[in-house]
Amino acid sequence: MESMSSLSTDMELKTEPFVLNMGPQHPSTHGVFRMRVLLDGEVVVDLEPIFGYLHRGIEKLAETRTYTQVIPLTDRLLYLSSMACNHAYVRSVEKLAGIHVPERGEYIRVIMDELMRISSHLMAVGFFLNDLGCSVYTPLLYMYREREKILDMFEMVCGQRLTYNYMRVGGVSGDVPEEFMPVLKRFVAEMPHFIAEYEQLLAENEILLARTKGVGVLPRELAINASASGPVLRASGVKWDIRKADPYSVYDRFDFEVPIGQVGDNYDRYRVRIMEMHQSLRILEQAMRQFPAGEACAKLPQLLRPAVGEAYGRVETPQGEMGFYVVSDNSIAPYRMHIRPPALLNLTALKDMVVGWKVADVIATFGSIDIAMGEVDR
């Protein structure tokens, strides 16, 4: 018996922390993103994100391009919501130069933004479920089906399916073609049925609930203090949406709700995105009804030379608040352009969200934030 007891103390598990390198090339990191994770067994003790693998110096490039030539660069930020990036940029330049956009142009922008939001949220939710291992790829492929219809509509208006380069300072590059509105109408009518289908498949899903409820909690105070925005901020119970708090374009003319979460866990972030899709459809319905006739773009000189000054314009992209701080020295190129990156700032509190959880929860929590490395690294 004595030898047995001494043997058991000898075999008592002694653990020591070790560093696990996740990424930069790994499917779950949604691009080239790297995390150095300090683990004790399977439990996360510390986490350090490492950025820069996709840094292209977009802010520096913008200084050598004219105001219009910068628009295609903004497509390469949040590449799953390029329309919203276009919008954030042109809005800042319009604010800087005091340009008025025709009503029809504003409505087209709102329609594109909301379609983009649905498409981006579909991808966010789809990849998130993929990360959770909910029957690999099935939910994602369901969502690709609907996203395809949105991409077809984008192709109709600008000929592109990923990098649209559709918005211009003063409006959009061209009016929507005749066949666009009937397609949009059909999409808006069909879509609630498809969202209901996802809900049916997912809302009570065992894996989803077990992996998301109570996991990766971002408390309300920390969310505000760490400059979180978009669905990440709203899931933590903060009713803050730029479309409501600081209405731009024609958003003040629509009736819609700002869905919020209760505790700020992975499940809330997922739920907020699903509910936002319903609200986007509401906005689209109203925009179609109110859609005015007229010009889609203001008449402007080919080369803009805004007066000396600076402006910060922001919009609510699917990932959060994207803003452009643009400084003009009265030349044809921006003197300085800074992009306020929603996804990078949403990652600020990632460490606090995952410490104490298992290594597999890092992937789930990281997936629930919904980032695009193009914008994180710029």
Binding site: G52, S227, W240, Y312, Y325, D377
Partner: protein
């Protein structure tokens, strides 16, 4: 609509609590001495009526004679905003870090350090955000070609 607070009015309040901190003021922004940034930030965040609880954006710009740090602040409680600025010289590009006031400043200050070479004194982990350690120079400076 987010209300843009009038610079002169807020500057007057700052001047009462943090004397001689304001250098210049306009309708839309307040320029403060770099040494006073942290105190002013604490004042703006913790004063009832101002309550700037949200750091929307922190960035910098190089104007060749000086480097400028820009803080765009928002109060979610009152839905108003203000722009705070601080200038430092190129010889001594130092500004106190505001990470202890707003955690959201963490990566933004690291980015400004990386690309503009502004040192944020008191930052808990001030190293390059995008470029690698050992990279020469700061690309967003106007004289970096």
């Amino acid at each position: 609509m987010t209300k843009a607070l009038i610079g002169q009015e807020v500057a007057k309040q700052i001047g009462e609590r943090v004397p001689q901190s304001v250098v210049e003021v306009s309708q839309s922004w307040i320029l403060v001495r770099p040494e006073a940034v942290l105190q002013v930030a604490q004042f703006l965040k913790n004063t009832p009526g101002l309550d700037f609880d949200y750091l929307t954006c922190l960035t910098g710009a190089d104007y060749l004679d000086y480097l400028e740090v820009v803080y765009i602040l928002t109060s979610m409680k009152h839905n108003h905003s203000i722009v705070l600025k601080a200038r430092c010289t190129r010889e001594k590009p130092e500004v106190p870090s505001v990470v202890e006031v707003w955690r959201g400043a963490d990566y933004q200050e690291r980015e400004a350090y990386d690309l503009l070479g502004i040192r944020f004194v008191g930052h808990p982990n001030l190293k390059r955000l995008f470029l690698w350690e050992g990279f020469q120079g700061h690309p967003l400076r106007r004289d970096y070609l």
